[in-house]
Symmetry: C3
Subunit: 339 residues, 3 copies
């Protein structure tokens, strides 16, 4: 159950080069590479001739050459060379997927051909800002992509799934959660006032006094979850505190691109003030965070293995954001299918 006519992130910018990369997006096998100008190209990963994967071939200039019989395709999916003869059959074409690369992500259009202007790739401007630093990750898990979205919409799991890493006892118990819905998104706002900071935060900031902590979670279809998380010295205004009172202040994108019905690509970027950490601290936090993402992946894979569709979930108040997200996605998919 996937929204068909949407832009999906297929890769990090750093994952694509002049060596072909095979990646399945929404059940479609795609090969990604860069041409001589550095532009990202996304083609069907299946040669028109005998259906060999082009990803087993090689990039030759702006083109990709099949590793089987050498049929060569340009970035529009047109065959430009058949080594054994001069004439190229006019039907020797493969599908080319529109690509938009920005902010460190390669978005592809796997929806109906020609309709790519009906949607825009998700905009996350922070990695481009010079005053911020950004770190990326690309993972994969054996679960339905919607379970990863669920995971992110309810951060009360931090104290449990991540209790040895970023969790702190106060997250689940002390929050006041507000959920806001719109026609095209869901926002969950949790604000925790005058609580002890998480150990990992003290380690980085050196500040062990009480803090006001915030988590603002925005879901945007089809599979983007943007997080603002941070804390400031207690009483300085929380999410509205002046920069000098903010101790932790991060903007993070989580992207749950469906690979197949039960597997998901998990792309991630986090940004933070360039002067907030030493390079060593950045590395420590990044490694810690990779453990956190791995904890999530393993928990959600466990959840997927136990799912029993004949039994309903039991909901509590904190599930409001997740329920709205689930309903919004189901409504949009139903609308798309009824067209």
């Amino acid at each position: 159950m996937v929204l068909r006519n949407r832009w999906y992130v297929a890769a990090l910018s750093t994952e694509i080069s002049d060596r072909p990369l095979a990646r399945t997006i929404a059940c479609q096998p795609i090969v990604l590479y860069r041409d001589t100008k550095g532009a990202a190209i996304a083609l069907e990963d299946r040669c028109a001739h005998r259906q060999a994967p082009l990803s087993l071939g090689e990039v030759v200039g702006d083109h990709i050459q099949c590793g089987y019989h050498g049929f060569t395709f340009d970035g529009d999916g047109r065959c430009v060379r058949v080594p054994s003869q001069k004439q190229v059959p006019p039907n020797a074409c493969i599908r080319a997927y529109p690509v938009i690369e920005k902010q460190g992500f390669v978005h592809v259009w796997t929806g109906d051909p020609g309709r790519e202007d009906s949607d825009r790739p998700y905009d996350f401007p922070f990695p481009d800002r010079p005053e911020l630093h950004a770190r990326y990750a690309s993972l994969r898990g054996a679960f339905d992509y919607r379970l990863l979205i669920d995971n992110l919409m309810d951060l009360t799991h931090l104290g449990f799934t991540h209790k040895n890493t970023i969790g702190s006892g106060g997250v689940a118990e002390q929050g006041k959660t507000r959920t806001e819905r719109s026609d095209n998104g869901v926002r969950v706002i949790r604000q925790m006032e005058n609580i002890e900071p998480a150990p990992a935060h003290v380690e980085v900031t050196g500040y062990s006094g009480n803090v006001d902590r915030w988590q603002i979670i925005d879901f945007s279809p089809p599979c983007h979850v943007e997080l603002q998380v941070g804390n400031a010295k207690t009483g300085t205004g929380g999410v509205d505190a002046a920069p000098e009172d903010r101790l932790i202040d991060r903007r993070t994108m989580h992207i749950a691109t469906p690979e197949t019905g039960t597997t998901t690509h998990y792309f991630w970027v986090s940004t933070y003030p360039a002067d907030s950490m030493t390079p060593e601290q950045e590395d420590v936090i990044y490694e810690r965070t990779m453990e956190v993402l791995d904890e999530d992946v393993r928990m959600i894979e466990g959840q997927q293995s136990r799912l029993d569709p004949s039994r309903p979930f039991v909901d509590v108040n904190e599930d409001a954001g997740q329920i709205h997200t689930c309903n919004l996605l189901a409504r949009l998919i139903a609308e798309e299918q009824s067209l």
Copy 2:
């Protein structure tokens, strides 16, 4: 094809602790742990909230806490805590499986709730006797549980599957086999008189003269096979010989608990006179026996891979016990399904 309303062994006592153990019994995912009094608890391994496996969580006092959002369940499957709110939804329950632990095994009731008194866990009193020693094992194989029962009901395989371990040439050729049937069990009695002892037996007993050897095999539904095996100096009475004339005298339980339709948990315990072996000999015999069980598992996995249901088995006289067992089990399953 499994008898539903029966007690099944889910684990050895030594496998359960205050760390959750995930185990599938008759296709039902179960988490097992001990509470603070040491009592074994068996719960559905699926949180009521979002269906994550509780076995990825942790035991907290007498309860188990989900590793995802911290929902906590008592030994009766009732949710006793939702970290993010005071009120626990009344429907936040999971299935609790009745447990009876005895003689080193943890039996669970996966049948119709409330009917657990209609059956009793299998009684194998020998591990509790002070004059006997006991050794246990817990294995798993990729085959229908009934193939393991078949294996045990026809010990003429000893000379072939186990010819390098416990087999001796005489087992298949020289036995006189008698089969006895009752409404709720099958017994196979094989007595071999005046034969050479198995090499492994000579190694332990130091007695190389001829022996009378016996194998008494009792099947009890749904999946228990109890063995009396031993030998005594020839002419001293066989299975009825006085203790001082018995050279080998073991009582062994084999339990074939269905995990799924094509996988099986294999639990095992063997008891023998405490003074019959040195600790070193006990270790040697145990290691040898683990090789034997492994030989069985590999053979039965091979058999499972070759099964062609369109073709009948070819039966011989020694298959009588196995055929009666198969028929008894089929009849009981049919009776249960017709209720």
Copy 3:
């Protein structure tokens, strides 16, 4: 989609000994071994008694003994011994597959019993000739056997799949290809005149001048592809050159025996003049060739993973041989099924 009533190669002669070999041919599990006279025996790999794989047992004299309960079968599949009783049940039989061993290959008949004389095992006489040397290989790949035949019928893949091994730029561009069809075969003839020799060839022959190169490819149903490849000094007659002008002159058999619908045994032999290479050169060429076969296997496995039956292949001129082969095989299979 396999021709049923044909001889198939099941193994190399060197793969069969007095230790049982399990091999699935056309979805039928077979055990192969040699009797005391050295004759190759092929039996159903499933004991008549309880369907255990005989390949887990052992060869005893001319017979094979099941490793489970010791039932023993002769080379005709008749049970000759039941260890636990004197009488052998008359229906204790398994299927025996006719075997013809020649030229280093063990051919078996998996078709309708009694019809083995309606076909002859493929004849490839070169390994038996004293003036030639022969080297064999046995591989396996996860693809439909017909994709391997396709691979061989269109050697324009050499310059791409094998560009780092035996490929040379001229193969695809410079050839003149002729295709000949008969009622029971397809021949593709490619002749390349006055081209640079492949680097590997120069390494062996020491001759770096231009050559005339030939590739003659013969497909014979069900799955045999015979290759004549070679080169001679330019202008000396090509494939008809006198022996002293031939630089490279090989006869090679490729056999694509179906294992299951999506897996294939790949048998191979290549012959060449005994005096054309030193033993060290033979070894180098053999190792190089094993890399080449592995390159093919990996490419075809990739192709299999991408096959989309809803989309037609795009054909070019060089596909003529492959298309004729495909059509011939389809016609023969349809004829066989309509009988």
